[in-house]
C-alpha cells in the first residue's frame, strides 16, 4: 500500500543498499573515520569513479569530494556519470577499460545490475559506494543505511515519548520504489529505532512513494486530507528532498504545526530547517562531500596491493538543532 506515479528514479537520491551485518544493536561495526589522503600517495595511478547521477544533489557532492580527494592524493581520477541508468554505467565501465583505469569506485544505481558492470569494467580493485556491487567489489563504502535510519528513528521515538507519551496520530513514511533496497533498509531502520522507544504497532502508518520534493508535496497534500484534524503526525523520509516536499505541503495546507519530521542526509537544503523549524526533530548526517576521504585513500591502498577492510562505513551523526551549527555552517536562516 504505497503510491505515486513518476517513479522516475531520479532521486534514488540519497540512495544506498545492503550494508550487511548492520544491526541497530551493534551499530558502529565497520565504521571508519574520514581521512585526508596522503599527498602524493596516488601519484601515477589512474583511478575511476562511476557516479550515480550528478543531477541528484547527493551524488554531485560525492563526485566533487572524490575529485578533491584524488587531487590531494595526486592520482588521476576518471569520472563517468551513469545518470541513474544501468546501461550508461555499463558504458562507463567499458570506457574505463579502454582508458586503462587501474581501479575504480562504483556508485551505480542498481545492485542487481552490478554483475554486468563488473564484467565490462577493467580488472583491478572495485570499491562499491552506497550500493552493493557484487561480485567484483572488494569493499563497500558509504552509508550504513539501517543504522542511519535507526538513530534518527530513535530520536523521533524519544521525542514522541517525551511530548505525547507515544500517543501520536499517524506515522507517514516517505519511501522510494526506484531504489527499493536502500529504501527498505533505511526506513526499516527508522521503524526499529522508533519502536525501540515507542514499542508496538505503528499507529495509522502511511507509506508514500515520494523521493522527490515535488512528488512528496503532491502526495503529502493528498495524505493530509485523509488525516483531518490530526495534529501529531510523524513524517519520516529516506531523504531530505521528500521532507522538504512534505513541509511545503503542510505549509500550503496551513498545517505546518501538525507534522513532525525527520529525514536522511542533512543536505545543505535542510540545514536551516533543522536549525530553525521546531518541528524538524532530527536528521541523520551522511557527509557525502567527505565520501572521497574514505573511498580514495582505500582505493589507492587496494590498487597498490594492500588489504583493506570489507566494510568502510561512514560515521553517521545524528543532526539536531543543537549540533547543526557545529557540524555544518547554515547560512541565511
Amino acid at each position: 500500500s504505497d503510491d505515486d506515479g513518476d517513479a522516475t528514479g531520479t532521486a534514488a537520491a540519497t540512495t544506498a543498499a545492503t550494508t550487511p551485518a548492520e544491526t541497530p544493536t551493534a551499530p558502529r561495526e565497520g565504521i571508519v573515520e574520514f581521512e585526508t589522503p596522503e599527498p602524493g600517495s596516488g601519484r601515477g595511478l589512474k583511478l575511476g569513479f562511476i557516479a550515480l547521477g550528478d543531477s541528484v544533489p547527493f551524488s554531485k557532492l560525492v563526485t566533487d569530494g572524490m575529485k578533491r580527494a584524488a587531487k590531494a592524493a595526486g592520482a588521476e581520477l576518471v569520472v563517468c556519470d551513469s545518470q541513474l541508468d544501468g546501461q550508461k554505467a555499463l558504458d562507463c565501465a567499458k570506457s574505463f577499460r579502454t582508458q586503462g583505469v587501474e581501479g575504480y569506485l562504483n556508485f551505480q544505481v542498481d545492485q542487481k545490475l552490478a554483475g554486468a558492470v563488473c564484467a565490462a569494467g577493467p580488472d583491478g580493485p572495485v570499491i562499491a559506494v552506497d550500493i552493493v556491487q557484487e561480485p567484483c567489489q572488494i569493499a563497500f563504502s558509504g552509508a550504513a543505511n539501517e543504522y542511519a535510519g535507526f538513530i534518527a528513528g530513535e530520536a523521533m521515538g524519544r521525542f514522541a515519548k517525551e511530548r505525547w507519551n507515544c500517543e501520536y496520530d499517524a506515522y507517514v513514511s516517505l519511501e522510494s520504489t526506484a531504489s527499493p533496497d536502500a529504501s527498505e533498509q533505511r526506513m526499516g531502520g527508522y521503524r526499529k529505532g522508533f519502536q525501540s522507544v515507542c514499542p508496538g504497532e505503528l499507529k495509522n502508518e502511511k507509506v508514500l512513494d515520494a523521493d522527490r520534493t515535488d512528488t512528496a508535496r503532491t502526495k503529502m497534500t493528498d495524505t493530509l486530507t485523509t488525516l483531518p484534524g490530526q495534529e501529531k503526525i510523524i513524517v519520516v523520509g529516506l531523504n531530505d528532498d521528500g521532507i522538504l516536499g512534505a513541509i511545503a505541503a503542510a505549509k500550503t495546507a496551513g498545517r505546518e504545526g501538525d507534522i513532525y519530521v525527520s529525514g536522511q542526509g542533512a543536505d545543505p537544503s535542510a540545514w536551516c530547517g533543522i536549525k530553525t523549524n521546531p518541528n524538524w526533530i532530527a536528521d541523520t548526517g551522511y557527509f557525502p562531500e567527505r565520501y572521497g576521504e574514505i573511498g580514495i585513500p582505500y582505493l589507492i591502498k587496494a590498487v597498490k596491493g594492500e588489504r583493506i577492510p570489507e566494510q568502510l562505513l561512514v560515521p553517521h551523526e545524528l543532526v539536531t538543532a543543537d549540533n547543526v551549527d557545529e557540524l555544518y555552517s547554515p547560512r541565511g536562516c
Binding site: S55, D214, S269
Partner: protein
C-alpha cells in the same frame, strides 16, 4: 473544392492540416461545446467514483488540493496551448522551470528576494528569446530547438546550483498564502492565467492570428500576419510563464531543486493534447486544456486518496487516457454518420 477525404477516418488523415471536415475547430461556436463534452463527462465520472470510494474526496479542501496540484502545470500549459494552436511546441518548459527557480535562489541569496524574482523573469525571457530566435529567425524546427534548450538549460541550472538544492527563505507567500476563501495563491494565479488566455485566444487579434498561423502558415503570411513575430511572442510568453511557475514552485518548496521541472514537458503536452489541441496546429482551446489538466489532477488525487499502489496508478492513468480519447473518437464517428 473541399479537400478530399472527409469521411475517411483513417487516423493518418486526422493529423494533417489539410484534412478537412475533421472536427470543428474552436472558431465554430456551436461545435465547441461538444468538443470537450467527453472530458467533462469523464471528469464527472471520476468525481462520482472517487466520492463513493473515499470519504475525503468530496470536500472543499480536497478540491483545492486538486487545483493546487494542477496549478503549476496549468500556468505553463496555457501558453503551450497558444503555441500548439500556432503549430509550435515548447519542450524546454521543464528545464526552464528548473533554470528560473535556480536563478532566483542563486541571485536571492546574494542580492535579495526582489533581485531574485527579477533574475528568474529575465531567465524566462532569455529562454523565450533563444527559442524564439532559433525557430523564427534561423528557422530551426521547434521540436529540435526546444530539445536543445531542454538539455542546455537543465545543464546550466545545475552548473549554477552546482547540482545542489538551493534553499530560499522568506519567499513563501507566493506559493503558500491563501488570500481569499482559503484559496491558495497559485490557484488564483492559475485561474487568472486561464481566464487571460481564454480572452487572448478567443477575443484578440493575437489569438486569432495564432489560429490562422497554425492552420496555414503560408496563407497567414499572405494575409499580412507577422507570423515570425507572433510565434516569437508565443515563445516569449511561454518563457515568461515558465518563470512565473518556477517562482511559485520555489516559493512552495522554499528551495530551488535542480530536479524541479523534470518531466514537466510531458505533463504539459499530455494536458494540452488531451484537451483537444492538434499537433498540426489550428485547433485547440484553453478550456479544453483546463479540462485536460483537471482530469489528470483528479485522477492522481483520487488514486492517492484510495492508496492505490503507484504502479497500478500508472496503469490506470494510461488506460483511462486511452479509453477517454477512444470514446471521443467513436462518438465523433457515430455522430458523423
Amino acid at each position: 473544392m473541399t479537400p478530399v477525404g472527409t469521411t475517411g477516418g483513417t487516423a493518418a488523415a486526422t493529423e494533417k492540416p489539410a484534412a478537412p471536415g475533421a472536427r470543428a475547430g474552436a472558431g465554430a461556436n456551436l461545435a465547441r461545446l461538444p468538443d470537450i463534452a467527453p472530458l467533462v463527462i469523464l471528469l464527472l465520472a471520476l468525481g462520482i467514483f472517487f466520492s463513493i470510494k473515499s470519504e475525503f474526496f468530496l470536500n472543499y479542501d480536497n478540491f483545492l488540493n486538486i487545483l493546487t496540484a494542477a496549478a503549476i502545470t496549468g500556468i505553463i500549459a496555457a501558453p503551450a496551448t497558444l503555441l500548439m494552436v500556432a503549430g509550435q511546441f515548447d519542450l524546454s518548459v521543464g528545464s526552464g522551470l528548473t533554470f528560473c527557480g535556480v536563478l532566483m535562489a542563486y541571485v536571492a541569496d546574494k542580492q535579495g528576494i526582489f533581485a531574485g524574482i527579477v533574475a528568474a523573469l529575465a531567465g524566462g525571457v532569455l529562454l523565450g528569446l533563444v527559442n524564439g530566435t532559433l525557430v523564427t529567425v534561423i528557422g530551426v524546427n521547434p521540436l529540435i530547438t526546444t530539445l536543445a534548450t531542454l538539455a542546455a538549460f537543465a545543464g546550466l541550472a545545475r552548473v549554477i546550483a552546482d547540482g545542489q538544492t538551493l534553499p530560499v527563505n522568506g519567499f513563501s507567500s507566493l506559493g503558500t498564502s491563501r488570500p481569499i476563501f482559503d484559496i491558495p495563491l497559485p490557484v488564483i494565479i492559475f485561474a487568472v492565467v486561464v481566464v487571460g488566455f481564454y480572452v487572448l485566444m478567443r477575443y484578440t487579434v493575437i489569438g486569432r492570428s495564432m489560429y490562422a498561423i497554425g492552420s496555414n502558415p503560408v496563407a497567414a503570411r499572405l494575409t499580412g500576419l507577422r507570423t515570425g513575430r507572433l510565434i516569437f511572442a508565443g515563445f516569449l510568453l511561454s518563457g515568461l510563464f515558465v518563470a512565473l511557475a518556477g517562482l511559485i514552485n520555489v516559493s512552495q518548496l522554499s528551495a530551488a531543486s535542480t530536479q524541479a521541472g523534470n518531466g514537466l514537458e510531458l505533463s504539459v503536452i499530455t494536458a494540452v493534447v488531451l484537451g483537444g489541441a492538434s499537433l498540426a496546429g489550428g485547433r485547440g482551446t484553453i478550456v479544453g486544456t483546463l479540462f485536460g489538466l483537471l482530469v489528470i489532477a483528479t485522477l492522481n488525487n483520487g488514486l492517492t486518496l484510495l492508496s492505490v499502489n503507484s504502479f497500478w496508478q500508472d496503469v490506470a492513468r494510461g488506460t483511462l487516457l486511452a479509453l477517454a480519447v477512444s470514446f471521443d473518437q467513436l462518438r465523433l464517428r457515430l455522430t458523423r454518420e
